[in-house]
Amino acid sequence: MPADPSTRQALYRLGQLVERRPPLSPELPSAAGEARRRVLAELETYLHRFEAQARAQGMQVWRAEDYQEADRLVIERIRASGCTEVLRNHSPLFDEIALDRAAAGNGVELIPIHPGDHYLKLTGAPPLHPIWSSAHLGLRHLATAMARAWKVPPSFDPDLLAGTARLRLRTLLLAAKVAVIGVHFAVAADGRLVCLDNDGHNAHLIALAGHLICLVGIEQVVADIADLELLIRAFSLGAWGQDQAHYVGIIAGPQRTADGPQQVDVILLDNGRRRALAAGLTAALACIGCGACHAVCPVYRQVGAMAYGRHARSGPIGAVLNPVMWPERRTQDQPYLSSGCRACATVCPVGIDLPELLARQRRHAAVSASWEERLVFWLWQRLLPYPRLFIPALRLAFRLVRRA
């Protein structure tokens, strides 16, 4: 089903922004991709190294096999702190594990401190994109939601609205006790955790909250500071078209003084990632989540993020990984959400050949398709040159597919 017009318009605009960027230097995707693949080839070794180093820095480290376990671990840590209102940053990991819903079910309110995510919470809208989560929200719609939620006079001046949001969010930050943070990278060599953004909300959370609960996908481990620097650049270029994110916060564990977090918990999340590695999708797990491929994908621009599922990855990378990582979420047809135009491959800052991976997943889907589905495609191929036979055959095919 196509996305609504405002979503399609926002996605089109986002695509234009990405297409206008200068092309990536050829060295970056190959070097950054190599840095990712090197770790993924020996993931367990790097994970153990990260765990040992993080513990040496005073962090507590857990592993979560699936999203339920991750939710449980996060909520247990929050409950132990005695807080019922907890701040969170912007991270697609929270949607993946449906953390907001799980927390609400346990009497905990997770308050997004990222402006875009906070606007989504006010309006009840789903996210647009892994980075530009709220770009599809109309100014009037948002202004009305802000006025209702914050009991302020309605205004349609974007500067005034942003200023009001700034005051609200900073007030929440200055009183922060516990924060849940979806981390961008975890450095195996020294156990440090890294968050990037342009507005500084991550740095504020790290500096102001006394207890950090950090969520890390197991594939987000990087070898060392040299690889980290390369991947910060790759992420910044893919996400915002900049050489460098405006804020990069690197946490070295609980603080030895009263300033800064006294407790840092780290939850390493699998949730289907090892299944993807076992299925030979190492190249896809090299993804750093910058969302560049989403913005240029003509199919994504039409269908939007929700076509991939509320709690799955969206865009071309989601179409590759979702059927393997979360087959139970009715994701098997997603490799067909592609036009084969190769636009995604040209913008990926870690050089993932997404069209090849999508074709591979389509071949896999074709082999494992039901006999009815295979029969439909066989008939399609045979009857396409004969229009008089084609229409009745198409009707029959639809009937068969519905039955399957």
């Binding site: 709220s134 342009n198 504020h204 500096a207 620097e229 405006h246 070295a252 300033d259 800064g260």
Partner: protein, 186 residues
């Protein structure tokens, strides 16, 4: 300008200015002190949030500020004052390749003067310029990893229908003073 560091300084300045940051290169520590004082006078503030190490980087600065009636307030996490709109901090490094500043220390509380104000003055000795993060890391003697904040530009948000808003959480304006090495100053 120190010859050895000049290419790094030029590169750093170019990238920093391209991102909309303000940078000045006082020729002596006395000129740098004066620049800080004049900037604060232009901004019309009587109290600023300051990292203690920043004031000690420019000998005589604390006294000069006191004489001018400007108080230095140290960040305390338990008693934060959001009304302080100007911050003064020193950078552990400037990275020429990316035109970014590195704030490092044993505590992330030291980041606060760089995060909370609307206008941030950063003192960056030219001797602390490095090519990149790896070069800076190699030059560190400490074994324990420290918490690091890398700042590459003002706090920006475009989450409201693509409308760019500067100063969403952190500073709207970043003003770097690239300090000359002490031995070359009068």
């Amino acid at each position: 300008m120190n010859d050895e560091r000049s290419p790094l300084a030029r590169h750093f300045m170019t990238v920093w200015q391209r991102r909309g940051g303000r940078i000045e290169t006082p020729t002596s520590q006395a000129a740098a002190r004066l620049r800080v004082l004049l900037t604060l006078r232009e901004l019309g503030v009587r109290e600023i949030l300051a990292r203690p190490s920043a004031a000690s980087l420019l000998p005589g600065l604390a006294e000069a500020l006191a004489d001018a009636g400007i108080a230095l307030s140290q960040p305390e996490r338990e008693r934060l004052r959001a009304e302080l709109t100007v911050g003064l901090t020193d950078a552990a490094a400037g990275l020429a390749t990316t035109g970014s500043l590195v704030l490092a220390g044993p505590s992330v509380g030291a980041w606060l003067p760089a995060l909370l104000p609307v206008y941030l003055i950063v003192l960056l000795p030219i001797t602390r310029l490095f090519n990149d993060l790896v070069a800076w890391q190699r030059a560190q003697k400490a074994e324990d990893p420290v918490s690091v904040l890398i700042i590459g530009g003002p706090s920006m948000s475009a989450d409201l229908e693509w409308h760019a808003h500067t100063g969403m959480f952190g500073p709207r304006q970043l003003h770097v003073l690239l300090l000359p090495p002490p031995e070359t100053t009068a």
